[in-house]
Subunit: 360 residues, 2 copies
Amino acid sequence: MNVRELRIPLGERSYPILIGAGLLAASETLAGLAQARQVAVVTNDTVGALFEARLALSLAGAARRISIRLPDGETHKNWQALDHIFEQLLRERFDRRCLLVALGGGVIGDVTGFAAAVYQRGVDFVQVPTTLLAQVDSSVGGKTAINHPLGKNMIGAFHQPKLVLADVDTLRTLPPRELSAGLAEMIKHGAIADPAYLGRLERDLAALRACDTTALGDAILRSCEIKAAVVAADERETGVRATLNFGHTFGHAIESGLGYGNWLHGEAVGAGMVMAADLSWRAGLVDDSLVERLRGTIAAAGLPVRGPAWPFERYVELMSIDKKARQGAPEFVLLERFGAARVQPVTDAQLRATLAACTG
Amino acid sequence: MNVRELRIPLGERSYPILIGAGLLAASETLAGLAQARQVAVVTNDTVGALFEARLALSLAGAARRISIRLPDGETHKNWQALDHIFEQLLRERFDRRCLLVALGGGVIGDVTGFAAAVYQRGVDFVQVPTTLLAQVDSSVGGKTAINHPLGKNMIGAFHQPKLVLADVDTLRTLPPRELSAGLAEMIKHGAIADPAYLGRLERDLAALRACDTTALGDAILRSCEIKAAVVAADERETGVRATLNFGHTFGHAIESGLGYGNWLHGEAVGAGMVMAADLSWRAGLVDDSLVERLRGTIAAAGLPVRGPAWPFERYVELMSIDKKARQGAPEFVLLERFGAARVQPVTDAQLRATLAACTG
């Protein structure tokens, strides 16, 4: 498999995404960025044991290289993890020209990216996502954040990486649940923006779940292209970018209500997309056949298609703290058809019906 | 005294600084920004008791207004204060379209500005500085930060306010030490960028220390103009903006070594400027008459002109953690003459001589 390159066009903050097999150990682009700089690789014990030695080969030219290990899991996407990074950087006297490298999944990427956004008011960082979800989701958009006890991703910044390295070899050791969680976001990209891509994903699901690197490389590239097109049109998330939150209002409520880390983010989004599609049908935007097709695709990807059995009020309470809420009256990203989504408020009755039909 | 207006030109992030007497209670610009929004006024008990009721008159059109009180002082410019803001905003369900208003000195402005930079990845904020230092220093530049136990201002962001309201009436209740601390930064502006302004400050020192609002209004405007010109040329602090740190490498070392809050920031910068001028002389850039004149002006402003009696090694240790350090070998902002400064490394011997001459 060749290296595929996608350039994210953001003026002086433009950066490349490189997708390929074996990139960790042999990236000239990363080597060039790290040359003669203070470099901190931020990872966790699991991912670090698997990949940090390989990555170190691309970082051989650094003036200094340190390793910072964070505890694993969404429950640790918090201030303590962030402060652990700051403390290591300050103890090692890293200055504002240093480079942070996030080696891991979405939690590592989000925390490290936010640390880079605010350490000495902003330093450079590189994303090396090692999960499918992170390769298609965190690679594009520059969103970084930590969770607050009162809400997910409530504290963060927009901070673009200098480079994203998506090495598909890292996906071979990924647990099947995590691979499915990545597929959820890819299905989302097809559903909201590209029916042909959705069709290809449906056709290739078995190959993707079997970790076929060519199928994965194609799909990762297409997902990054779709997300990049949306983000380039709306970097600060004031308009069309909100459609990327398809399935996420429900999904965040599920994650928040279960406690972060019980369902994977992609699993919650899987069920959330079915709920959002059902709501689109109840709002009169789509046929029920679309809902059924999406439900089937999500199930075939190995993802849940129903939310937890909570009362209506519990869901509403969990959703209203979500940052997509507008003055307490949540709007939803709904499908108009496969390939087109929009944000609109729904009635209380429509929301009740969807929750009754799609949970428990 | 009329309202003076200075516009900070930063493209789509441009904003006005309004300087005048009585602005708090009667700002149409602030009223327009607050109209129909969720507004949080962040202040401390001392400043809040003096001015929050007046400010509320300009915020009457807000959809909702809450007050968030932080503990007073530089020692509280930390994560706990930041998290207190986040917690109030989340409990009150403030969304990303809310407006934060920082009412207070530099600590309130820095913490509130940083909270605004990262709450839900960035919300609008207004600076209402109530100290002379904050009116001339924090009003321009978009720098926000909190301290870390291992270093001052180590965690922060560049985040521009939507408006700065500098009401000179608030300076009437300011303790004389705090007024002098503000004069330190103004003297700095004259020293590095405008000899005529330095001369006017020297001439008007008595009026300024007596809180003459016209003299203060003139000087605040000129200081903001100077800082704005430097910042506009170099928003991200990669080049000429570093000259604004004249006196600050020594000053931060003094603050850090004494424990934040023992000397005021402006007091530490006062002594730091004398040290930096002395170092400029030892580096062969200026005559000793310049050093003596600056020392006299700083003393006449009611500021210390000597650093604490610490050994050379203690100063070096305190300065090397400072973020102006480059790989452990600190550079200094030195004067070439009044009106021109530049960054350059100095020899160990020059630094030793300055510390021997200007401390204890």
